[in-house]
């Protein structure tokens, strides 16, 4: 009698517990399933393009001759973005973490976050309407004075809608990612090391060089890799800014194309085998960014385990 009266409210609670923990577990598993599903459905829909006869694919030479120029184009745009963004981002992160007055630092961090909040299509529109026009005289100058370099070979594009412009817009978009991650790492640098360096008479720059940067190196590398992942997959900046074409070595002529922009420009009107081809291109992009992100995350977790700082 007493046993049952004690058990019955407990029983109700136990069912609730089971349902709730089951739901939580299911949600977690759903995420794994979604990621698996992304890969699965892309593969399933891409198979027709991979198995089709070569002359049916756009360009008439098969899937791999179609995909490799735009893979190279994607890498070129991403590398330009990183070359520009990395030093500036590290500078901005250092400014916020070690140079700015402490009362201002939080507000300045918010300003950099605003850069991340602006939608990519607005950056694309800005790049196409403002930056491309303003920067084309600089391209003419580059073509005239440094034209002997293959990457700066003239004649420069008159509209300024080149892969270099697209890379600059991309660099603006990856800047806040690299900045915010590096800032976190710089703030975690062991305070005692910094104070010890200053106490020994080091200048602020020497302190940063000796105590902060060596500690932060793995973090910076993974931040840059995450920025690379974003730059590889970014669509709108390239689709709106670049006037695309065949693969060319010169960065200041129109030409080149990236995977993401190729999909965005062609998918809305595509049908049949063209859809499969574009989904297969998306699969290639997915695999590339997945590898880059996994390496970056692996560096971060490994670093977390071995760092005794916190």
């Amino acid at each position: 009698m007493t046993a049952t009266s004690l058990r019955s409210p407990q029983g109700a609670g136990r069912t609730g517990d089971k349902i709730f923990s089951g739901a939580a577990l299911a949600a977690g598993c759903l995420i794994l399933a979604v990621l698996f599903g992304v890969a699965l459905f892309l593969v399933v829909q891409a198979i027709p393009a991979l198995t089709a006869p070569a002359d049916k694919i756009q360009g008439g030479a098969g899937f791999f001759p179609y995909i490799w120029p735009i893979v190279v184009g994607t890498l070129i745009a991403a590398v330009i973005a990183l070359v520009i963004a990395t030093p500036i981002a590290i500078g901005v992160a250092l400014f916020i973490s070690h140079f700015a007055p402490r009362q201002l630092a939080a507000g300045l961090g918010y300003v950099v976050d605003l850069l991340a909040a602006i939608p990519s299509v607005v950056y694309g529109a800005w790049g196409a309407a403002f930056l491309a026009k303003e920067i084309s005289p600089a391209y003419n100058w580059l073509a005239g004075n440094l034209g002997w370099l293959p990457i700066l070979q003239g004649p420069a594009s008159a509209t300024g809608k080149t892969i270099l412009t697209a890379g600059i817009v991309l660099s603006v978009m990856v800047l806040p990612i690299i900045t915010s991650l590096s800032r976190e790492i710089f703030l975690q640098a062991p305070k005692l090391h910094e104070e010890a360096a200053l106490a020994l008479g080091a200048t602020r720059w020497e302190m940063i060089k000796m105590a902060v940067l060596p500690f932060a190196r793995p973090g910076i590398i993974s931040a840059v890799m995450l920025g690379l992942g974003r730059a590889l997959g970014e669509t709108m900046a390239v689709a709106l800014v670049l006037s695309s074409g065949a693969l060319t070595a010169s960065l200041i002529q129109s030409g080149n194309q990236t995977i993401a922009a190729e999909i965005a420009l062609n998918f809305p009107e595509a049908s049949g085998l063209k859809v499969s081809t574009l989904i297969a291109a998306g699969l290639v992009l997915f695999v590339i960014t997945l590898c880059v992100n996994m390496i970056a995350r692996w560096i971060i977790t490994r670093h977390k385990e071995f760092s005794g700082a916190n």
Binding site: I19, I31, L32, V38, L114, M236, L240, F267, R297
Partner: protein, 370 residues
């Protein structure tokens, strides 16, 4: 008397001997600005060039002076400071430029009568030609796109928040840092890096396979946005649940409260401000996504109230198509005016969401009583 005063003065100057005076940066800055203006006056003045030239002159002058007076170590320190501050100013340039461009181009679009209340249904190139050639008002608006954005984002939020929040609960309360929990954490991190267009392709491929080829509706776009949104919700909710003090949980258990009721009634209410602000930030992130909507919802010019049927417009795709394929190819002016107006509305929406997230976090923060 004078003999005792002199050594004191010389001792003081000995303390400050190898240092630049406090006013040094200001003097160098003023000199750099003047020289920069003078040089540019000779070859044609513009504000941008003046800023760049003055900054270079300032850095060179300050570092050179410091090297002469203070030695190379202090000079290197000055150089590093100049570079770091300079990089911050360079990072501000695009932000200011983007906001300025959108404001200048967007305000004429937004103040056009009917811009927020009309759709693009029936607006053809002929009207745009008339607007340019005869000065007729620019017709058409963004009502359909605004409506589409709200519907798609709302549906994406309805899908993502329960899944994301429950996953965070699993990771913090049930996972015990086991193998599954670590796998989920890792893949959630990896998921944050999925390119948005791949998320769009996944949703498209999924619905092509399940419903039929060519399925493009607002719901497909919402699924695509959920793939992008869930990891953000999981990460932010997880952080917030983690900082709920363990004493609260233990106190609830000690009173005999079941674990699920503890989570629902104690843990989540304590963390709700952080969770809500994280969700708001996630919405702000996906509301501006263009590529996934482009490949999943198509682009419509008419008002579509049904998320589950028919193509649907959204603000980002509206901007994209108006710029890339103007309504009147011979007179793209009115189209670009509409595009910039829509861009301004989109930026305002995102900024409101960002500020809202901050306000939510501040207003609903748990009262600690300390």
């Amino acid at each position: 008397m004078t003999a005792t005063l002199t050594p004191v003065r010389s001792k003081r100057s000995a303390l400050t001997k190898g240092q630049l005076p406090k006013y040094a940066p200001y003097v160098v800055l003023a000199t750099a600005l003047i020289i920069g203006a003078a040089v540019l006056a000779l070859i044609g003045f513009n504000a941008f060039g003046w800023g760049i030239l003055s900054a270079i002159l300032f850095a060179a002058g300050l570092v050179g002076w410091s090297a002469a007076v203070e030695g190379s170590r202090k000079a290197k320190d000055k150089l590093a400071t100049c570079l770091v501050v300079g990089s911050f100013l360079v990072a501000l340039l695009p932000l200011v430029s983007v906001i300025w461009t959108v404001l200048v181009n967007g305000v004429p679009g937004i103040i056009t009568p009917g811009f927020l209340t009309n759709s693009m249904n029936g607006v053809t190139g002929a009207y745009d030609n008339k607007a340019v050639e005869a000065g007729a008002p620019v017709l058409g608006g963004i009502y359909h796109a605004l409506l589409g954005t709200v519907q798609i984002t709302l549906l994406a939020t309805v899908i993502s928040v329960p899944v994301g929040l429950l996953t965070a609960v699993y990771l913090v309360e049930y996972g015990n840092d086991g193998r599954l929990a670590r796998a989920i954490t890792f893949f959630v991190d990896v998921m944050t890096g999925i390119p948005s267009i791949v998320a769009g392709l996944f949703a498209a491929a999924f619905f092509f396979a399940v419903v039929g080829p060519g399925t493009k509706t607002g719901a497909v776009a919402a699924v695509a946005l959920s793939v992008l949104m869930i990891p953000v919700v999981v990460r932010s909710s997880e952080e917030m649940l983690k900082i709920v003090p363990n004493e609260l949980r233990e106190a609830a258990y000690a009173l005999g409260v079941r674990k699920w009721r503890t989570i629902l009634k104690v843990v989540i209410p304590t963390a709700i401000s952080g969770i809500a602000s994280g969700v708001t930030l996630a919405i702000a992130r996906v509301i501006g996504e263009t590529a996934p909507i482009l490949v999943t919802a198509g682009f419509a010019t008419n008002i579509n109230n049904n998320v589950f049927g028919g193509w649907m417009a959204s603000l980002p795709t509206f901007i994209y198509t108006q710029i890339l394929n103007p309504t009147s190819p011979s007179n793209p002016g009115p189209s670009s005016q509409r595009a910039w107006g829509a861009a301004l509305v989109l930026i305002i929406l995102v900024m409101i969401l960002n500020l809202g997230a901050r306000l939510i976090a501040r207003i609903f923060a748990p009262k600690t009583g300390r």
